[in-house]
Symmetry: C2
DNA sequence: CTGAAAGCGCTTACAG
DNA sequence: CTGAAAGCGCTTACAG
């Protein structure tokens, strides 16, 4: 059934050592021998066991990935980018899905990640504690982060604060003053989280424009239904309605947009909306957003990680990934009439 | 840095064999010794290498998963269910993402899956060819499928044809006759695919009600934007508009709903819509749908797989998973006025 | 250019 | 109840 290198060697009439050299390409082997060994391997469908090889080479050809969500757009994109890059280089990917507050968290750090199965580890959006970072470092394998700088782990991340500032400034530039921010739920608890940094950028921009008094933040689960619920709630009071919303992510933005329309508000006529991310639905909803490329980030982070494993220098502490404002039809200048009471 | 069982043995003053027995729980070991060994292991942070152990036990404690999409709801849910079940039992999950038409497909079957890394393999929605099923079987490890029966692989799947029939009958029961089906794009090519079976169920129901002449099928990418595009197209001609749509999945249904509203159609006033899946957005969009539990399916399939690996009998060729019609506000009885010309 | 030998980290008969 | 020995499948110095 499953064949070993001894079978290949026997069939090709060489020693296991030579078979190994011929198959791996390491060390000298006569061309004719090489051809014969490779043919033998093909004939019996031999594929080397990396688990066995790892025992002597120390290389597992396997990368561990830890992320809090699979089923949210950003994470799914990152994951697909990682998977593709890994596949291209012959690596496997072992995935751990650690929801915020997951009871398995400690077990993943102390048991699963410690099983000596990985040549490197990618952590994404899990906001590791200082102790956890230490545990990761103690593993002794290269690490890389995506989506938020983590102290002690080189991270691929966009400038969340800057993106939020830019998005908010866009609304300010259109004449809006009552600009509400719908933040991610952990912006409150973790100022260091993606949601926290985006809120900070919003506040920066408001303050710089002298609009502190107009600023207002609501919290939402970072999903479409989360944005819908928060939007429906926050926009229901007609006497105290913002003219624009800066949402912490596109899911929230789209959910808010749908809620606004159900309340009879026109977007952008009555309400301008800006998001962040460049979600696959953004175009369909004509959403103005600060677009990033999570799939590319996954790909680039893994490439850097594998290169580091192969001997390249470690990537820098923070690799700033690209993000750009894409203006679509969810934003418009505040109309003169609506603007009047403010001017 | 990373310690071996010899270190534990030395520290506890026993042989490697005894340390192994104490840690694994296999074989006799004096209680006092066991305690001493476990303490030693804890002190130096020892975790056994399953790669090394697999060489002698043959057990890798690792399961391979192959699926075409990560970033679509059904697959993401299945994946989270799988991951949780695996984590609970101490197994790792290695994920291969094989887009339809992926150039890597052959390499995954012939190289990655053949590396003797897995105690079992889960295949989801990739519609393996006969040759591929053979390759999988030749691996000699237990297999399980999710989301569509595959010959030769025990599969957890809902009755797609029945679900589609039920959904269509619901519309017929509400008095609709001009019921359009927006099918998944591969319904045409692969009658055996999920999309193909759902289209068959639609046609069954239409035929049984004597509505063959009214049946009409359009194709869409199985995503929200896919449903939006197909819906916008199919509903734009006011002279030839269905009064109801049965969508092959909830993403298509929701995309179609949004397109319909943009065209000024009221849902369900002018157009009733039914989907299939029980998508996380279904409630927010008040979508009538045939709900299934992909997360549960992933969990149950893995549990059956691990039990089989542990010695239980293989699951049956087809395990029918539950699905039920959930009626929400996207469907309504055809109004007398609209129905008149048909009666 | 090739082979015999050692050894990676583990577990498991086999003796005792 | 415990230890010495063998061996899982591979690769890599080391001789030749």
């Amino acid at each position: 059934m499953s064949s070993a290198i001894a079978d290949v060697a026997a069939r090709a009439g060489v020693s296991k050592a030579t078979a190994s050299r011929a198959l791996s390409g390491n060390g000298y082997v006569a061309e004719a021998t090489r051809v014969r060994v490779i043919a033998a391997a093909r004939e019996i469908g031999y594929v080397a066991s990396p688990n066995a090889a790892s025992l002597v080479t120390g290389q597992t050809k396997n990368i561990g990935v830890v992320m809090p969500f699979i089923n949210r757009w950003f994470f799914g994109e990152v994951l697909e980018g990682i998977e593709q890059a890994l596949l291209d280089r012959g690596y496997d990917m072992t995935l751990y899905n650690l929801h915020p507050g997951s009871a398995d968290r400690q077990r993943v750090f102390e048991f699963f990640l410690a099983r000596k199965r990985f040549d490197g580890i990618v952590v994404i959006g899990i906001e590791p504690t200082r102790v956890e970072v230490e545990q990761l470092v103690r593993l002794g394998v290269p690490l890389v982060g995506i989506g938020g700088p983590v102290n002690g782990i080189p991270s691929f991340t966009m400038d969340d604060t800057g993106a939020a500032r830019r998005a908010t400034e866009q609304l300010i530039g259109l004449g809006h003053r009552k600009i509400m921010h719908i933040a991610g739920e952990d912006a409150d608890v973790l100022s260091d989280s993606v949601a926290g940094r985006r809120r900070a950028g919003y506040l920066d921009a408001m303050r710089a424009a002298g609009l502190e008094a107009e600023s207002r933040t609501e919290l939402a689960i970072m999903s479409l239904p989360g944005g819908y619920d928060a939007g429906a709630q926050a926009l229901s009071d007609a006497t105290n309605r913002p003219t624009a919303v800066f949402a912490a992510c596109d899911e929230i933005a789209i959910g808010t947009m749908i809620a606004a329309r159900r309340l009879g508000l026109r977007v952008p006529g009555d309400l301008s909306i800006v998001g962040v991310d460049g979600h696959e639905y953004a175009e369909m909803f004509s959403l103005t957003t600060v677009e990033q490329q999570p799939r590319q980030q996954g790909h680039d982070a893994v490439t850097a990680l594998l290169n580091h494993i192969a001997g390249d220098p470690s990537p820098p502490a923070v690799v700033d990934v690209s993000a750009r404002l894409v203006v679509r039809a969810s934003t418009a200048a505040l109309t003169a009439v609506a603007a009047a009471p403010l001017s």
